[in-house]
């Protein structure tokens, strides 16, 4: 049996590196489109400030993108290095979208990103805009393929287990592509990325306004981001992930865990706004409930039921027992007793093989598991509820907060008085980390809420790991923590440095710090004179 410490550490390593990777992805997804908008205005109007905006925000984009690429490499290596059995067991299905992502999207993005940064002097305006557009398109296509792969982990459609090859095999590429879970995930994830980039640009632009620096530059950047941000935050909230929670058992469990709904309640179910869920007691202590709300959020209807966790665990126990039979016949088939009878019996229970494999955590041979082990496996067939419950609430809270800010920002920006709303501008500055909080907690809900499965109903996380030792993992995890911490410090140092410098970092001679050098008196006189030369240039 695999070492349980090793499995635990492998999970920590994957979680840490994946969540770290996703610090950089959402900003790339959204900022790329903001650059496209800014450069389009430049190409259409010929106003240089929009070129400077594209270049400056592009600089910050580049600092972020470099770490996105770096940490993305880890993701590609890690399935093989640390999740070898997973790679074998589902590579036939899961590998395809990853490889196509490389061919269709990542190649395009990476080939043109270099020209985005270094091609300004060598490409015509329209060519450069095309390059920027293709980079943005490709980064979003990339997300599409990755989320098709991830959607399959949540809801494994279009595939079937083969006892001969001892793995999942693709039966329909179209079903894999059109997986409803993948589709809602894609919309939700990229829109969240757009919000992240909007909040990033809004926060930094707000800071320039508060400092009275580069007002023309800051206000235009703010305008672009607030419009883009409003459309995006509405998409994230209205086209939330919930509609994907009706499909597949794992998603149903996740939904019940998010709501800490232990008992199946008559529709429409109440929403637990607050409480302390406990897996041990199978109830939520000190719960504060709001009637009807869950039914509306989760099912968008008044009469669809949300199944409770206790009922789900009872269903799982039945499937675990069926999975034990599947495992028994799988052993026979693998040992050469390939008779039509064994094959037929296996086929009857094949759909529950994954549930049988859940027992691997307690016994070498699931076919002979004890009653106690079966009960335990059923109890462990749902995730820890409390972290999922709370992470979801943090995400929603962050989303609502951003909606509020962006709506206010949009309103005051439309009335052209945003630079006078100093309190609101400070809120924008201080809220720069909020979209990341939402994105990370959102992914936590999606992935931690999927446990104990690596692939929903198919492959338990525990047996998906490589045959390594805990020592191997201690060394590699330490390596990742050291490297990633250093890289994070360097990235933040550069972000702050260039964020503070603002468009002056372009060395065009038109912006705040450059003007100050020429006329220190103007700077002393306050904000407006310092930016005046630039505003006149418009």
């Amino acid at each position: 049996m695999l070492d349980s410490t090793m499995i635990e550490l492998s999970r920590w390593q994957f979680a840490a590196t994946a969540m770290y990777h996703f610090l950089f992805v959402p900003l790339t997804l959204g900022l790329a489109w903001i650059l496209v908008i800014m450069e389009t205005v430049y190409v259409m109007t010929g106003r240089e400030i929009y070129r400077d905006m594209t270049k400056f925000w592009g600089k910050l984009f580049g600092i972020n993108f470099a770490l996105g690429v770096t940490t993305g490499l880890t993701m590609e290596f890690q399935f093989g290095t640390n999740w070898a059995y997973y790679s074998h067991y589902v590579g036939d299905v899961f590998g395809a979208p990853l490889a196509i992502e490389g061919l269709m999207a990542f190649f395009l993005e990476s080939t043109f990103i270099g020209l985005f940064f270094l091609g300004w002097e060598r490409l015509s305006k329209l060519q450069h805009l095309t390059v920027t557009f293709l980079t943005a398109l490709a980064s979003n296509l990339s997300a599409l393929w990755i989320l098709i792969a991830n959607g399959w982990m949540q809801n494994p459609v279009g595939s079937e287990f083969s006892y001969e090859t001892m793995r999942m095999e693709m039966t329909s590429f179209t079903e894999l592509l059109l997986n409803p879970v993948a589709q809602v995930k894609f919309v939700h994830t990229v829109a969240a990325g757009y919000v992240t980039a909007s909040m990033f640009v809004l926060g930094i632009s707000a800071w320039y306004m508060l400092k009275g620096r580069d007002l023309a530059f800051a206000k235009r950047s703010f305008s672009v981001a607030v419009g883009f941000g409003l459309a995006s935050i509405l998409s994230v909230i209205l086209l939330g992930d919930e509609s994907g929670y009706e499909v597949g058992d794992v998603q149903r469990v996740k939904l019940a865990a998010i709501e800490a709904e232990w008992e199946t309640e008559p529709a429409p179910a109440a929403f637990t706004a607050y409480g302390f869920p406990s897996n041990a007691d199978e109830e939520t202590h000190d719960a504060v409930k709001i009637p009807y709300l869950l039914g509306l959020i989760a099912t968008r209807s008044l009469d669809t039921q949300v199944v409770g966790l206790k009922d789900l665990m009872r269903e799982h126990e039945v499937r675990i027992r069926s999975g034990m039979i599947a495992y028994e016949y799988l052993q026979r088939l693998r040992n050469g007793e390939d008779t039509p009878g064994n094959r037929a019996s296996f086929e009857d229970h094949k759909a529950d093989l994954g549930y049988g494999l859940l027992l691997k955590r307690y016994t070498e041979n699931p076919a002979t598991a004890t009653e106690e082990q079966i009960k335990q496996a059923a109890k462990d067939s749902i995730p820890e509820v409390a972290p999922v419950f709370w992470a979801f609430r943090v995400m929603v809270g962050a989303g609502v907060w951003m909606l509020l800010l962006i709506v206010l920002g949009f309103y005051f920006n439309a009335r052209r008085v945003i630079q006078d709303r100093r309190f609101l501008l400070w809120l924008f500055v201080l809220s720069i980390p909020v979209p990341w909080l939402a994105a990370e907690t959102g992914w936590f809900v999606a992935e931690f809420g999927r446990q104990p499965w690596a692939i929903g109903e198919v492959l338990p996380t525990g047996i998906a790991a490589s045959s390594l030792t805990a020592t191997d993992l201690r060394i590699s995890l330490t390596g990742f923590i050291v490297f990633y911490s250093i890289l994070f410090l360097i990235e933040m140092f550069l972000m702050f440095k260039f964020g503070r410098m603002g468009p002056s970092s372009l060395h065009t001679g038109k912006y705040h710090h450059e003007c100050r050098q020429e006329s220190p008196a103007a700077h002393g006189g306050g904000a407006t004179p310092a930016t005046a030369p630039h505003d006149q240039a418009q």
Partner: protein, 380 residues
């Protein structure tokens, strides 16, 4: 499904080879450039010239490596699983070294501090030299067989150690890999920079080229005399449902020469390796780096195809349990997956080649110190 399973299995062996060759010719060149950076650039401006020759392209080039990894995952899942987890620390070493590249290229010239810049220069050196060395060492170990086996549920178990990977033959393979990519990078720099870097690049192209030829020849002799190859004694028909546990394999001396004896035309690969490497050195010496780069690419193709042709159909032979060896006929994905992936490759690889060519054309010039000075805040 236009292509039958047997054909597709072979096609995917070729396609993985194409991706690896694509990686060597493009990103391998960048790794060579990274390896040479601290030695060919004597001051900050010269180093920036060197970096900016690959500045717009290294990122796209790196995707050959990433796609090769993805394609191995999709087309040969068991190979991806067994090799990446078996060579655990070697893979992590290559990965950590690769970390230095995206950040090195983008961050280095953003700060005007000599210590900062010099640190990233050595980072780019590590990011170039270490993966080049590790990939060669990995091939060297594949050729000798890897201590691993598959259990009844096809879980790979690796029984060797990290230091076991660093055996003499594998290190020699590492020298070939590092040497040929460094030569390739040197010729690129000869083509795309100005004096005095061009002169230094020529010297390095010659040195590393000759070293690689000598190492390649030595490896050939060593392989024919001292290394036991693997041979499939019996296996299901080629188009059968893949199951790596249904064949019988033996390890015996001379088995790695069997393909060359049975199909003498395959000798064209080692010959192409020698001719390409040698031709590249000569063309570099004669100040023809443009043609030299093409010939050098052919040389890399020859060397990589030699490793492939020597081992075919083996991909990852097992030294401890030869029957667990992974071969091109039984370590593959299903017929449907190979078909889908085949069409994806047929559509996208030509597109990739087209737009990659466009970007090279657009950015084509000799990078000069004057240009870097003029674009101080734009260039890498």
């Amino acid at each position: 499904m236009i292509l039958d399973y047997e054909t597709l299995k072979f096609v995917w062996w070729i396609l993985v080879g194409v991706l690896l060759i694509g990686f060597a010719v493009t990103d391998g060149m960048d790794m060579g450039v990274g390896t040479l950076l601290p030695f060919l650039g004597k001051n900050d401006l010269e180093r920036r010239v060197i970096i900016n020759t690959v500045g717009p392209h290294w990122d796209g080039n790196q995707v050959w490596l990433i796609t090769a990894g993805g394609a191995i995952f999709a087309a040969w899942p068991l190979v991806y699983a067994s090799a990446f987890s078996g060579f655990y620390f070697a893979m992590l070493l290559a990965l950590f070294a690769l970390f230095f590249r995206p950040v090195g290229f983008d961050y280095r010239s953003k700060i005007e501090n000599p210590t900062w810049r010099s640190a990233w220069d050595w980072g780019l050196f590590v990011g170039g030299a270490v993966p080049a060395l590790v990939f060669g060492i990995a091939f060297g170990n594949l050729i000798q067989g890897v201590p691993f086996h598959l259990d009844e549920f096809l879980r790979p178990w690796y029984t060797g150690s990290f230091f076991g990977l660093l055996n003499p033959f594998a290190l020699l393979a590492g020298v070939i890999s590092l040497g040929m990519l460094t030569m390739h990078g040197a010729i690129w720099l000869q083509l795309r920079t100005e004096e005095p870097i061009v002169g230094r690049a020529k010297v390095w192209a010659k040195k590393t080229g000759i070293l690689t030829i000598a190492a390649f020849a030595l490896a050939g002799v060593w392989l024919s005399l001292g290394i036991d190859g693997f041979r499939v004694v019996s296996m299901p028909e080629l188009g059968a449902t893949p199951n790596p546990l249904t064949k019988e394999v033996v390890q015996e001396s001379g088995a790695w020469l069997a393909n060359y004896q049975q199909y003498p035309w395959t000798l064209v690969f080692p010959l192409l390796g020698f001719a390409g490497l040698g031709g590249a050195v000569l063309l570099s010496m004669k100040d023809r780096p443009g043609l030299g780069l093409v010939v050098s690419s052919l040389g890399l193709t020859g060397v990589i195809m030699t490793a492939g042709a020597t081992m075919f159909p083996f991909i990852m032979p097992s030294s401890t349990n030869p029957n667990s060896s992974l071969i091109a006929w039984d370590a593959v994905s299903s017929h449907l997956t190979l078909t889908v992936m085949f069409w994806a490759a047929m559509i996208f690889v030509p597109l990739i080649l087209m737009y990659t060519t466009w970007t090279y054309t657009k950015m084509w010039r000799r990078v000069t110190v004057a240009e870097i000075k003029a674009q101080d805040h734009l260039a890498y």
